[in-house]
């Protein structure tokens, strides 16, 4: 059962370049009947950058948030950004796993009169909160505008699938695909659903980054996706903002809009595109949104089994 209110850590990205995510999160939360209460005076998680420079301050930076959340009395912290999620989750986990690390981190925190006992705050990603706490059955009853005819590629990115998957699998999770089906949309096969978007690579070694972006967009487009749906502002930024640069490098012209999962969820809940920050993306999402049909698409005919063909391995439910 969903709570009334969750302690919320938005992360820096949602404050500037990913406003769209922030507004769609807030409006979807409201529509689903829970509050996201922003924790007081949170700081940046350090992204992937700080760990490269200096390990202990990096952990301390993250742990300040955990300690403050714990002081607020939070036993859960909901995070919409995959990078923030990973850093917070990993710090909590590793502090529990490695007492030496916990000791040093707490020694540093003590300089700010803080202390964090690992395990106090359960770090959760927003997508997992919505899917597990509300659940597919309940969500299905809230859908007012099913996304019939819309073909979506569920892009999980790395950091919620790895190192510890919050879903079913680190390699090929299917939970979000099921969400799309609940929303009335079709989930397209997408081999690169957990392939990395390149992170900061677009900044520091553009060609490496663009190649990764291009692979993802290509694979989604070739599987007929109208849009790629992400759960992470970094993934959205890379795939969206650099899509044309990647096109240029590989001489292609993919135009696959990149949406946040709360944006498509919001649409299905009947919210207006403008309330969901749609329009802030570089690759225009409106052509895709306009494809949404009033009526469900006809059920694809079950292909008759070829007499000669060998059976596929039986998958358990």
């Amino acid at each position: 059962m969903t709570r009334q209110a969750y302690t919320y850590y938005p992360g820096c990205s949602l404050q500037h370049r990913s406003h769209a995510y922030e507004s769609s999160n807030r409006n979807v939360a409201q529509a689903l009947g829970f509050d996201l209460v922003e924790m007081d005076d949170w700081n940046c998680c350090g992204a992937t950058e700080y760990f490269s420079l200096n390990r202990l301050p990096a952990y301390a930076l993250v742990a300040r948030n955990l300690a403050r959340a714990a002081n607020e009395g939070a036993d859960e912290l909901v995070v919409p950004c995959s990078a923030c999620f990973l850093n917070l989750h990993k710090t909590d986990k590793q502090m529990a796993q490695y007492p030496d690390l916990a000791r040093s981190v707490n020694q540093a925190l003590a300089a700010g009169d803080l202390h964090y006992t690992p395990g106090t705050v359960r770090v959760r990603h927003l997508v997992e909160v919505i899917i597990s706490d509300i659940g597919f059955t309940e969500l299905a009853t809230r859908i007012t505008r099913p996304l019939y005819g819309l073909k979506l590629a569920a892009y999980y990115g790395c950091l919620i699938a790895r190192p510890d998957s919050i879903f079913d699998s680190t390699e090929h999770p299917t939970t979000m695909d099921r969400l799309f089906e609940v929303l009335g949309a079709e989930s397209v096969p997408f081999a690169l659903k957990t392939f990395c978007c390149g992170g900061h690579m677009a900044q520091i070694s553009a060609e490496t980054g663009f190649e990764m972006i291009h692979k993802i967009v290509k694979n989604a487009a070739e599987n007929g996706a109208d849009a790629i749906v992400t759960v992470c502002p970094m993934c959205q930024l890379n795939l969206d903002v650099y899509q044309n640069s990647a096109n240029k490098l590989f001489d292609t012209d993919y135009q696959v809009p990149i949406l946040f999962f709360t944006q498509v969820l919001g649409l299905a809940l009947g919210l207006k595109p403008s309330d969901l920050g749609i329009g802030q993306e570089f690759v225009d999402a409106m052509p895709a949104i306009n494809k949404i049909s009033e009526v469900p698409p006809p059920k694809p005919k079950r292909e008759r089994r070829d007499k000669q063909a060998l059976p596929m391995p039986v998958m358990p439910e």
Binding site: T170, H172, A191, A309, L310, P311, M312, P313, V314, M315
Partner: protein, 671 residues
């Protein structure tokens, strides 16, 4: 206590102990322990010189108790007990202090610490041995019948060996036919002889042997008793076919309209009918009705098989039967399961059509298989022009199974040959290390190298259908680092074969529990000793053979089956076996009948005697674990050789140098 005379012997074990522990000092110090009449150190206690010394001292110095401080009791307890016995001393008046494995070898850089510990262990043994009582081993008679569980090649071999020696064997198999995994294979490495050609005669022999009672389509449900006298309850699942009438003519399965995917024998690659015989050479030849899929059992209509059966052998009303077998010994040869390749999702098995497991490929290439031996893609027609074989799938991987599955290198090489022979396709092997370790295996590897297979040293990272270049379109792309050149490679192929590892049977834990054997970390049954006793188990009278003990190939399975049989035959010929007298007993005159112990015994050795209101232990069933001894709140259950007094004495002895003296008087502040 004064008439007790303890002899203490501290072993140097060459340099093994003496290199770290000050052996002479320990022996000297031990003179000061209670009742010690002799204390010596010796180069090698286990050598005849050492043993003779014990015997002489017992005779000359009237020693009544012996302590040897040397290696682990699992190593030489028997040796020294023998020495005591030869000198006329009851072997249970001997105790061992393990100052090698538990002291010298683990504290090489702390000589003082190791010496102190050795002293503590010697003291513990001396204190303990003074409490020890003479015990007599329990002699039990051995029934000549043997139960073999599992009708694969290991079980068949064991059954035949024992039956040929003239003793009765019950061979229980859960599937409708014996044969096991070997019956599914086409060729066997490294000689490439046909599996059926070498297996079928053995299956036939087992089926026709006058000393072998075949119980197929049957499962063991309960095991009671102990070595020599097991009672085993077997459930004979209803075949729904009267074996006395059936001729195995095949009319029923030819007429049966219901087709289902055969996930057992055909590994999901082919179909069978609802009434079926798993394969043509099946032993016994009779079919069974699969009631879960039979139309009659689903809808109440059909009965076509009954209509066409020329001998009226179909019995829809047949029910499961139970038979109770009395056997003296048991061989577990329950085999293995193949690793479920879906657990490595990046390899795409179950998602990408042309990714096959090794067992699927065995069926594909088998002349009697679903494609009649044609190597084709999942569409059933297209021959692959390039094939990748991925080694170590679900093996050598801490995320799945850490162990090496032992057979995959060789079966992959066999596949290499079969693919090339049948299709001429280019074959790529992705491997971490090649381990062709038995006779003729390395030669086979060279032969396959000669045949032109490519070997890429690198564990495959993933298999994908996401093409990045035109030549990858429509193919499966195998992505791996070629570690020999240090570069990432993408190899597009038509077909991928996953050399899936071997795993313990899914129900191995339950079976282990039923038969009282252990499972190791990997889940395979644990042998009594990994080197010196590889087919016996911790439970007397229960032996293991074949892949249930660990991954192994056909020759090793056959060898183990025969070895288990030899062990059992030895016991049968002896007619009696001596059991360790480590048993619990209840002092009934003092038992209050609280019944706390009643639920403790995993072997149901404790019963409550209502009329006397006391509990009683059946010594033949008791295995001496001592859990009832610990549980008894009145402390009136005695665990022989691990009595309360013995262990308490051992605790006091082991802390002999730290016994806290009575506390000194301390000043107390005024109140």
């Amino acid at each position: 206590m004064s008439d007790k005379r303890v002899g203490v012997y501290v072993c140097h074990c060459g340099h093994n102990i003496a290199g770290t522990v000050d052996v002479e000092h320990v022996a000297e110090w031990a003179w000061g322990l209670p009742n010690v009449a002799v204390s010596r150190d010796c180069q090698f206690m286990c050598a005849s010189l050492g043993q003779d010394m014990i015997e002489e001292d017992i005779r000359e110095h009237g020693l009544t108790h012996i302590v040897v401080a040397s290696c682990s009791p699992h190593m030489h307890e028997k040796t020294f007990r023998g020495a005591c016995e030869r000198a006329g001393l009851n072997p249970y008046l001997f105790e061992m202090a393990n100052i090698r494995e538990h002291a010298s070898w683990v504290h090489p850089h702390d000589k003082d610490g190791a010496t102190d510990k050795a002293k503590a262990l010697v003291s513990a043994a001396v204190h303990r041995v003074l409490q020890q009582q003479p015990l007599e081993p329990l002699q039990v008679d051995i029934r000549p019948e043997t139960l073999v569980v599992g009708g694969g090649i290991a079980g068949i071999q064991a059954a035949l060996e024992i039956a040929d020696a003239g003793f009765p064997v019950y061979l229980v198999e859960r599937e409708p036919s014996i044969g096991g995994h070997m019956a599914q294979f086409d060729k066997t490495f490294p000689t490439l002889d046909c599996a059926a050609c070498i297996l079928t005669p053995k299956m036939f022999d087992a089926g026709a042997h006058p000393n072998i009672t075949l119980l197929t389509y049957s499962e063991v449900e309960q095991v009671d008793g102990y070595v020599g006298n097991f009672t085993v309850r077997v459930r004979r699942k209803a075949r729904h076919v009267d074996e006395s009438l059936c001729t195995g003519c095949g009319t029923c399965w030819e007429k049966c309209p219901k087709k289902v995917i055969d996930t057992v024998f055909e590994a999901g690659m082919g179909y069978r009918t609802a009434i079926y015989r798993p394969f043509p050479q099946a032993v016994p030849k009779y079919p069974v009705i699969d009631t879960e899929n039979c139309t009659y059992y689903q809808t109440g209509k059909c009965k076509i098989c009954e209509k066409f059966c020329p001998t009226e052998a179909i019995r829809f009303d047949m029910e499961d039967e139970y038979v109770d077998l009395e056997v003296g010994n048991i061989v577990l040869a329950t085999g293995y399961d193949i690793f479920d390749a879906r657990r490595i999702p990046q390899y795409g098995y179950g998602r990408l059509a042309n990714v096959f497991t090794s067992l699927e490929f065995e069926r594909l290439t088998n002349a009697a298989g679903p494609t009649e031996g044609k190597v084709v893609l999942r569409d059933g027609v297209t021959e692959p022009r390039s094939v990748a074989i991925i080694h170590c799938v679900g093996s050598r991987d801490k995320n799945t199974n850490e162990y090496c599955s032992a057979i995959c290198c060789m079966s992959s090489l066999k596949f290499d040959h079969l693919v090339m022979e049948k299709t001429g396709a280019q074959v790529y092997n992705f491997y971490i290390d090649m381990r062709p370790i038995h006779k003729g295996y390395e030669e086979f590897y060279h032969r396959i190298l000669d045949e032109g297979t490519q070997f890429i040293r690198g564990r495959v990272a993933e298999i994908t259908d996401a093409a990045h270049s035109p030549e990858e379109e429509g193919k499966l792309i195998v992505i791996a680092e070629d570690t020999l050149i240090g570069r990432q490679r993408r190899v597009p192929v038509d077909m991928v074969i996953l050399a899936a590892g071997l795993e313990p049977r899914a129900d191995a834990q339950g079976v282990a529990h039923m038969f009282g054997v252990g499972c190791g970390d990997s889940g395979f049954f644990t042998e009594r000793h990994p080197k010196l006793d590889p087919v016996a188990t911790m439970t007397e009278g229960v032996y293991i053979a074949g892949a249930c003990q660990g991954p192994k190939d056909i020759p090793d399975s056959v060898a183990q089956g025969a070895a288990a049989a030899a062990r059992i035959l030895g016991v049968i010929f002896r007619k009696q076996v001596a059991l360790e007298p480590i048993r619990a007993s209840i002092d009934e005159s003092r038992c209050s009948g609280c019944r706390i112990c009643n639920t403790m015994c995993p072997y149901n050795a404790i019963s409550f005697i209502e009329e006397l209101s006391v509990s009683r232990v059946n010594p033949a069933l008791c295995k001496g674990c001592g859990t009832c001894v610990a549980a008894c709140p009145s402390q009136i259950i005695t665990g022989a050789h691990f009595t309360f007094e013995q262990i308490m004495a051992e605790i006091d002895g082991i802390l002999v140098d730290v016994h806290t003296a009575p506390p000194e008087h301390t000043a107390v502040e005024a109140v």
